[in-house]
């Protein structure tokens, strides 16, 4: 057990060591948190399925340096994001802003959910109606009742 946990710790430790590319010192914990959040939400333009926090592409490194520099010089999150978008487009944001071009992206989950709800509702209603109506006509129903009565007696 101890050996296993030692192995687990070892493996995790090695991966953590690989993930750290370079470190920036922040005296202010709030600023460190902003660095963490922003570097996780900014997308690396070169290696497109990674954020700049875990990419070791040179461009991601430059963007992290830029992010650190701008945080240290007192820029707000909006200013930093604007700076990045101005150069690399909406693409750099993993959480894109709402605009006519991104409207489809933001609204499609809501629309799909509404569509699913509508489909569910109409299916349920149809099956309820089908359950209420056994498909027999009045004459047949009377005959059935009579037959059942005869059997019971």
């Amino acid at each position: 057990m101890l050996r296993w946990s030692a192995l687990v710790v070892f493996v995790l430790w090695v991966q953590a060591a690989q993930a750290v590319i370079e470190t920036y010192e922040f005296s202010d914990p709030a600023m460190r948190e902003r660095y963490r959040v922003l570097s996780n939400e900014l997308r690396c333009p070169k290696c497109q399925n990674q954020n700049i926090a875990d990419s070791n592409a040179p461009i991601a490194q430059d963007l992290r340096a830029q992010l650190n520099e701008q945080l240290q010089s007192g820029k707000s999150n909006e200013e930093i994001v604007d700076y990045m978008v101005q150069r690399y487009g909406e693409f750099v944001l993993y959480r894109p802003r709402f605009s006519p071009t991104t409207a489809v992206l933001w609204l499609s989950p809501v629309l799909l959910l509404a569509l699913a709800g509508l489909t569910l509702w109409s299916t349920v209603r149809r099956s309820r109606r089908a359950a209420g109506n056994s498909g027999l006509q009045d004459v047949e129903r009377e005959r059935l009742a009579k037959l059942l009565q005869e059997r019971e007696s």
Partner: protein, 166 residues
């Protein structure tokens, strides 16, 4: 339903996810103050103005730049003003590279730290920008410039901007 899904996904396969529209298209080329490669001469945005031109982002560490280099030479021989942006490179390596392969560029901006590259939205070499006479970025091509890129994209665009082959 499945046909529609199939068409949608089929279309998705044909799109190139690497092709990013540059946020800088139709924007003015950024201001900069850097030196010319291998000299102390300082260069600014004004050096690129006056005629439609190409600006090629390259580096000696970039294998694809070596691939496109002979083609850039051919384009320069047609009389296209071709500017180089030597991106995050060491000066001596870049000069050795030009000495060995030839220099198709009218001038080379030495962007050692990649600051101009960052302002341009460069994310990797090679990239080639089409500028008009006023220094507005009209197009960005990412990747190697070859016959196809030249005849289908860059040449028509330059002709439209008023460039004439000499």
């Amino acid at each position: 339903m499945f046909v529609a899904l199939g068409l949608l996904l089929g279309r998705g396969l044909q799109l190139d996810p690497q092709a990013l529209p540059s946020a800088m298209v139709d924007q003015a080329f950024p201001q900069f103050s850097l030196t010319a490669l291998g000299t102390d001469e300082s260069l600014s945005r004004e050096a690129l103005l006056g005629a439609p031109a190409l600006l090629n982002v390259w580096a000696s560490w970039c294998p694809s730049c070596r691939v496109e280099h002979p083609y850039l030479q051919r384009i320069a021989d047609l009389g296209v003003p071709l500017f180089g942006l030597n991106y995050k490179d060491r000066g001596e390596d870049a000069l050795a590279w030009l000495g060995q392969l030839g220099n198709p560029y009218r001038l080379n901006i030495a962007d050692v730290d990649g600051t101009l590259g960052l302002d341009l939205g460069v994310y990797g070499a090679p990239e080639t920008y089409v500028l008009d006479a006023q220094g507005v970025i009209r197009y960005r091509h990412v990747g190697v410039v070859n016959e196809q890129v030249w005849t289908q994209t860059l040449q028509p665009l330059l002709l439209q901007l008023g460039w004439r082959e000499n």
